[in-house]
Assembly symmetry: C2
Amino acid sequence: MPPTQPSTRDRILQAAIELFYAHGYAATGMAEILKKADANSGSFYFFFTSKEDLLMAVLDWYQASLGPVLLAPVFKKSQDPIRRIFLLLEKYRQNVLATEFAFGCPLGRLALEIDPDRRPVHDKIAANFTGWSRAVQELLEQARRQGQLPRRCDLRQLSRFVLTVMEGAVMQARSYQCIEPFDDCIAQLEAYFKELRTAAQDENGKKANVKKPNPSRRRK
Amino acid sequence: MPPTQPSTRDRILQAAIELFYAHGYAATGMAEILKKADANSGSFYFFFTSKEDLLMAVLDWYQASLGPVLLAPVFKKSQDPIRRIFLLLEKYRQNVLATEFAFGCPLGRLALEIDPDRRPVHDKIAANFTGWSRAVQELLEQARRQGQLPRRCDLRQLSRFVLTVMEGAVMQARSYQCIEPFDDCIAQLEAYFKELRTAAQDENGKKANVKKPNPSRRRK
């Protein structure tokens, strides 16, 4: 059987994903999308009511792709939860390098580009941020069960913090047009995780002391 | 003497600063700038060669204002270097709230909006980032001299990290349209500084032990 051809809707969607990523939403014209998708405006309006409607579909696609397209290939490389988080950040580093520092995260760019009045669009961007952060939070919870993170650490906060660091790091790499600011920020996040691991070890040590009090002390 | 009237150039510059901040660079038209500045296109082209030339002047203005406009009022509130950093972040929190989550940092927005091919513009954005980070680095160096940060911490990296956290936090607040993601990220940065302070205290304790060895140990 011959390979399945992508449908017209899929071609329009993929063209939009690539063009919004490369040039932003406002700078991408309808004519450009139709040309890239090899589609005409009649078929566009059969599937989408407007360019913003197409953007909503793009954001749904990102949300649906998070697990299979972004996370699964990264997670294959390691079983360790903290390592998986840094492999995910490494993936963004590759994006920054592949686009010659122009981009790294399509969602971050849309978050700052799209007018704040466009609430349905921002709700979908926020939902994408939430999906990403929750995936990181699950890894953090796993790491804590393994004794790699202290009990006092708020893991929902920390998952958002990881997203924040990635977005801010991508932004600086873009303006400096070099990877150093990105690497600096990831190095600091690693340093933070190292401090947290030490704090967790201290906690575990104290816990062990409570469970098995020092016999010499008991004798006093 | 009557108060000095702002010059035509200053009026155009201030109009551009406000409009680029509120609507972005691409979405701000020349007519809008001239109307807000109460200037005509003849006087515009007397001072600026193009809209991008005006953007360059806006970025120079941000660079020149960093000390007197942004940092000085914040630094008046405290002498403690770490407290000053968090007061600076608090200032961005106020910006986010004042713009109803639409913005917080004009530079971050331009960093992701302006086409990456516009190198002279990005060089000026990067110079603004560098100015900001260096001011934070000076505070970090002061804090280390006071024993608040460990010797092993790379303060240049950490200063970039603080910028990154602010930018990523502003971005998330914009899409979620609430301050919670911003507050979460700042809370995690505070937690990191707390771990660093503990590490510095451990280092200082060890140093004190080296200087004044335990007499009971010496006797062994």
